[in-house]
Symmetry: C2
Subunit: 424 residues, 2 copies
């Protein structure tokens, strides 16, 4: 733990949305005793909000600088982020990162490096922006057996779905609006294909269940093929479509993870999570259900989470990963049956999809907008056909949660407060 007397010198790697948000907050709070001593960026010609003399173009200079107390890594490139963060941890440094794709791929190795060399790695900003979900799972719930951790972890796709639902617009215009407002990347496939919330689910699994999942083995279905017809289907049933990441402990002790669009009614607290907001439901054995909601994107909200990590490093905080000691002896499983809804504009393609998934032809139905199908499919079969479903623009959503009997404990929603329907 450092004295609060001398300012902590920060090396900032990356000056995009999050980096600038973090820098901005620090400038406005000089009393915190933190100084952004050096900033490294990649592109020397890109116009920036600060004069060029503030920047270096070689992040390795920051790694080589023993005068920096903390490194903050907030770049996009996952491979380069891993190189920088793992090198810093080998030096025993204290590091904050917000790179979820990098963490999801390399967490076991990074935790090992942290332990071997005595450094510290914190990454609250990597999951759910401003919501303190990692420290809540890691520390506050370190002792609490968890039935489930579920939520909306991607602000970009949630913004698109909210706008489609509000405006009745189609996917293309809603995505363009999200991009124009800075809520989606120019290449939106990580967000819209549910790769990004899958990375976040993998990170949370380490803290909630003490297990390191391989992201490639976790089912992710996105919203790239969602249409106004799907929104109308949901609305006709009083539901909304949300991309929900789910970690669950099953009755047989296995933990399962998946990220898919889901049809949700107002009885779910996630029903009220709109625009770029994120929401997390934690079902504790003793504590009961917890719900957290906050901004999941944006420079200031995410920058504020990065700053919370830097201050936590100064206080000596480390993640405990306490659940690793009680992690299920059985491997993660995909042995689950899901209730699904599928749609494709072309009835012939949809018939073909039913054959892939071994669904009967009677599963097919139609409404004003064309053909859709409903039925139950084993999760491994969806995993097997995931890439084909995506390549063929088939929209797939879950209907409801994993079936009763498969889930550990009885999920008691009886006293769970829901968004009530009020006639005004």
């Amino acid at each position: 733990m450092d004295s609060d007397k001398h300012p902590l010198r920060i090396g900032l790697i990356g000056f995009g949305c999050v980096g600038q948000g973090f820098y901005d907050i620090l400038q406005q709070q000089p009393h915190l005793g933190l100084v952004t001593a050096r900033i490294a960026v990649k592109n020397p010609v890109k116009p920036r909000s600060l004069p060029a003399e503030h920047f270096t173009y070689h992040a390795d200079e920051l790694l080589a600088d023993p005068g920096l107390d903390v490194l903050v890594e907030v770049i996009d490139d996952a491979a380069e982020a891993f190189r920088l963060v793992s090198t810093a941890l080998r030096q025993g440094r204290r590091v904050v990162t917000a790179n979820k794709a990098m963490l999801a791929r390399h967490l076991p190795e990074l935790v090992q490096l942290e332990q071997q060399h005595g450094g510290t790695l914190l990454y609250e900003a990597a999951v759910c922006g401003s919501i303190p979900v990692i420290r809540t799972l890691d520390a506050y719930f370190s002792h609490e057996p968890l039935r489930a951790v579920r939520g909306i972890f991607n602000g970009s796709s949630n913004y698109v779905l909210t706008r489609m639902s509000e405006e009745g617009s189609d996917y293309g215009p809603a995505l363009a609006e999200a991009q124009a407002r800075g809520f989606a990347e120019t290449d939106p496939s990580l967000d819209m294909g549910a790769f990004d919330p899958r990375s976040k689910a993998v990170i949370l699994a380490a803290h909630a269940y003490g297990i390191f999942l391989n992201p490639n083995e976790v089912l992710n279905l996105g919203i790239e093929a969602v249409s106004a017809a799907d929104m109308a289907y949901a609305a006709a049933r009083g539901q909304k479509i949300k991309v929900v990441a789910s970690l669950q402990r099953l009755a047989d002790g296995h933990v399962t993870a998946l990220v898919t669009p889901q049809l949700l009614g107002p009885e779910s607290p996630l029903f009220t999570v709109e625009h770029e907001f994120n929401g997390v439901l934690i079902e504790g054995e003793y504590a009961g259900p917890q719900f957290l909601r906050g901004r999941g994107a944006g420079g200031h909200p995410t920058g504020s989470a990065v700053l919370a990590d830097v201050l936590a490093l100064r206080r000596g905080l480390r993640y405990g990963y306490a659940k690793r000691a009680t992690a299920p002896a059985v491997p993660p499983t995909a042995e689950l049956t899901l209730d699904v809804y599928l749609r494709h504009a072309d009835a012939g393609t949809l018939r073909e999809v039913l054959a892939w998934l071994e669904l009967p032809t009677e599963a097919q139905d139609s409404d004003d907008a064309g053909s859709y199908a409903t039925g139950t499919v084993p999760l491994p079969r969806l995993l097997q056909w995931r890439d084909e479903l995506r390549a063929n623009n088939v929209f797939v959503a879950r209907r409801g949660e994993v079936r009763a009997g498969e889930v550990a404990g009885a999920t008691d929603y009886h006293h769970y407060p829901v968004a009530e329907v009020v006639n005004m």
Copy 2:
């Protein structure tokens, strides 16, 4: 920080709802390395779930036992709790308490004792049961300027209001049901008179704003005079009545605190907090709005929060009270004008109340259920007449938040997700 190798020996003082819940969870989790070495209770003849040899009837024996690593104090009696906790802190001990009335009255002194003698005092379970709101405000938001912290902090009165709203029943039967279900004390005045949520607001003010408020100077209006007529008045406007505690930073830099019933529409996230659940809204300058919801009462949820504190003590956690360094130089204020709704079964009494509050006689109106009044009243005047309003069974509720212009920053609800009204 202790080694996780040798078990931490806990002295438990109190074996009521929370004490038993805590003990129960520990028994089910032997791998945590915690042992309830001694239990002190007051009454030697009360029947208990454990054999008599588990108990001592002299809490002072635990204070005198150097073999105990942590003391957990979960008794009802605030004066005795203060005696025990302050004595333990003078010994430099590590203590967990859940006694909010005691904390609200003695926090400055306890924090001073902690610093003088090197002990530690944690009290997550004292506010909002299972919700980790104190550590979230104290650590995660230590750097974040907060516009407001608002919420439903009392599960008992919220349970009564929910049942009245669901059943159309009157206050008496709803309270009797809450008592029968163990959600309200036999003497319900602390909960129903809003003394309990006031204590919690005072505790949160220390972490959210770095200020120690005098509970007696904080306006608390309860629900002891609420009737089916009030519920009908709210329902006719698509609203609910909730007891809301509010801490707010005003535009002039002052912090204000009050706890009153409030008429809330579905645009408020607190609208969905029902039964014994609690909910907290935190408005951060950079992080934006955060919402936390979870069980606010019950042996297991509160026991789980106590256990989280014991494990935090083992990791070396202390509250930082960081906001004390940036606390407003101006004293807390009550200089606020509130929009209020008042009702009394007797029109004559209501007229008298209007005179007390210097409201014009035109403020009085009536509906099928009798006479009510609406108008704006300065907060100090409500504080001045608080006891008379209570003694005369006048129900008073706020309509809406503090007026725009008085509050620091523009509270931007534009992108705030709300419980939407859906026609199914």
